[in-house]
Structures are given as structure tokens and as C-alpha cells.
Point group: C2
Chain length 208, copies 2
């Protein structure tokens, strides 16, 4: 029988005897979240269940359900977690704040072309037909959208008190989302790079 430091129901406890329980719990949670995003990106909503994710993360189904009681909990938390990670990474790319606008436009568009966007897209589309998922995803999308807008305004050094600037930045983020969609079925990198270069130049002119 294990004590508090090595409970029976923690399979890694024997190998990681010095890792405090709450850190192990956090690590398990993060493994589940990362596996959930990868699963959603690869297999879509229909192929993404708590069991599939638990197996992929090497976690028991019971442990997965302890962290995330429902399928909706797991996948909305996963998309939110990765969105936060990406926001942090984006800010870290430009540690001095407002930066070269062409580089910022390129980095913003990059947010929408990886597995996170693909996962989020599957979640959005599923939510559009599933009443249980829709309010959760709508709320999440609004929150992530506001945060991304805030980062974009900061890094572009955009003065939103000037008329039209807010809508210019919003349109730019809509364009980034559209570029993500265009990358769903084919590798659109070559075309995208030219569009991003041109729109980086236009932002430079427009935002002054």
C-alpha cells in the first residue's frame, strides 16, 4: 500500500517519487489537453471522445474523467489552454511590445495555420449543430477573440482612438482566420506568404 507520496492509483508515482502530487496532477491535465487538441485536429469532433484522448495521453479513463467530467469540458478546456499558450508565445516573440508591423502581421496569421486552428475549427463547426456545445464554444470564441484583438492592437501599435483603426485590425484578424481556412485542405503557404507581405505593407501605410 502506498502512502501519500506514492498512491496506488498513480502509475508513474514509482518512477517519479519526488514529484509532488499536485504537480503530477497538473502534468496529467496538460497531457490530456495536448492530446485532446491533437485528436480534434486529426480526427474531428466525431472521432474525438474522452476515451480516445485518455488512451493517447496514457492516462486511465477514470483519471481523465476526474479532470474533465464531460466531453465538452475536455475539448473546450483543451482549445482554451492551447489558445492561451499561443497568446503567451506570440507576446514573447515581441518582448518590447509594438514591433515591425510586417513581422507582426506574419506572426498573427501564423496563429491560424497550425493544429490549434484546425482543432478550434472542428469544435466551432460541431458547436454549430450541437446545442450542448454551442454556448460553451461561443463564450470561449468570444474570450479568445478579445484577447487576440488586444494583442494585435498592442503589437501593431494601433491607435484605436482614430476612426476606422479598430475595424482595420478586426478585418486583419478576419483575414488571418480566412487564411487558416484556406490552408485546411491544401498547403497554401506560397500564396499565403505573398498575401501576408502585401497586407503587411498595407497595414504599415494605413496605421501610419
Amino acid at each position: 500500500m502506498g502512502g501519500v507520496s506514492a498512491p496506488e492509483n498513480a502509475p508513474n508515482a514509482a518512477r517519479l517519487p519526488h514529484v509532488p502530487k499536485q504537480d503530477r496532477s497538473r502534468a496529467t491535465r496538460q497531457r490530456l489537453l495536448a492530446a485532446a487538441v491533437a485528436c480534434l485536429a486529426e480526427h474531428g469532433w466525431a472521432g474525438s471522445t474522452v476515451s480516445v484522448v485518455a488512451e493517447r495521453a496514457g492516462v486511465s479513463r477514470g483519471a481523465a474523467q476526474h479532470h474533465f467530467p464531460t466531453r465538452e469540458d475536455l475539448f473546450t478546456a483543451a482549445v482554451e489552454y492551447v489558445a492561451e499558450e499561443r497568446s503567451t508565445a506570440l507576446r514573447a516573440l515581441f518582448p518590447d511590445g509594438a514591433a515591425d508591423r510586417r513581422a507582426v502581421v506574419a506572426a498573427l496569421v501564423d496563429l491560424y495555420t497550425g493544429p490549434l486552428f484546425r482543432a478550434a475549427l472542428h469544435l466551432w463547426v460541431a458547436a454549430s449543430n450541437e446545442d450542448q456545445l454551442r454556448p460553451r464554444v461561443t463564450e470561449l470564441e468570444a474570450r479568445v477573440g478579445r484577447e487576440t484583438h488586444r494583442i494585435a492592437v498592442d503589437l501593431l501599435g494601433a491607435d484605436e482612438s482614430r476612426p476606422g483603426v479598430r475595424e482595420t485590425v478586426q478585418g486583419l484578424l478576419d483575414m488571418a482566420r480566412g487564411l487558416g481556412l484556406a490552408n485546411l485542405l491544401t498547403d497554401d503557404a506560397v500564396r499565403r506568404e505573398r498575401v501576408v507581405a502585401q497586407w503587411g505593407a498595407l497595414m504599415e501605410e494605413t496605421l501610419g
Copy 2:
């Protein structure tokens, strides 16, 4: 036993005795295509089968399969058919060709906010995970995308021989697609209208 003009397997033949057979066949086909787009927009790919569409269109399953042997045939044809209808309607809005750019930007964005975009989005997302669907939808998306680009260039009076103009128009269409995505879960009309007004003004300045 019915003759050629009123075959047993055409339930409407008795009511429409003077409609030539090929016109009835075309009408059946169009009813199936319209029902397929509506079904895809409302229920997504998972809920969209040939049987469901046939019932919605008031057509026998056998007749539906005569027109569209596979599920992939039916839904790619449906999205293509409606995309063509929309292109024709868009050109008809501006019969004299190049027109007021703000009005053209608004009309282009409208292409991406209705049931067709919703249906196409479900098809794209399903195709990203289904090997049987992906090549068909990829080819369709490329074809529809080229046609939309051509219309946008014409109506905006954009001179693509000038550096950057092609990419400006492409980015505008990517923005329109992104605005369609933002409208998936919530009614985004108020925000969208402001973005469209601002980007209409940007296009006016940029395209000269």
C-alpha cells in the same frame, strides 16, 4: 401502366402531364441539390445522407441515386451548383461590370455569410478527415475560388498588372471567408458591417 409521358415511377407526372421528361428530370435534380445544401448547413456532414436529402426533396431514394450514385457526388454537386447560382447572382447585381467598390466589397462578403458558406464549411471540414471526400472537395474549392477571384477583380476594376493588386484582392476574399466563419455561432452582422465599411474604404484608397 404509364407511357413515356407519365411513367409509373414519376409521382408528379399525373399532375404535370405537359412537362417534358428531361425538364422533370432537371427539376428533380435541382430539388435534390437545394435540399442537400440545406441539409448540410443545418445538420453537418454526419447528419447528411442521400436518404435524408431524398426525403427532404420529396424524391424516392432510387431516383436520388439515379442522379447521384454516391453521397460524395450529391454533396459536392450541391455545393458547386449553389456556388454557381451565387456567382451568377453576384454578377447580376452589377450588370455594368466594375462598380462602386464599397458596394462590391459588401456584396462579396455577403457570399460568405449565408447557408451556402455554412454548407461548404461543413463539407471542407469533413473532407479534411475523409480520404474519399478530400480530393473532390479540394478540386471544387480551387475551382470556385478561382471564379470568385475573377468576379472580384472584374467588379472592383482591379488592375492585376500592378504589383500587389492580386494579393490585395486575395486578402480581401480571405477576410470575407474569415467573416463568414465569425458568423457561424453568433449573428455577427453589426460588427461585420463596420469592418466591411472600413475595408471598402481601404480598397477604394488602395486600388486607386
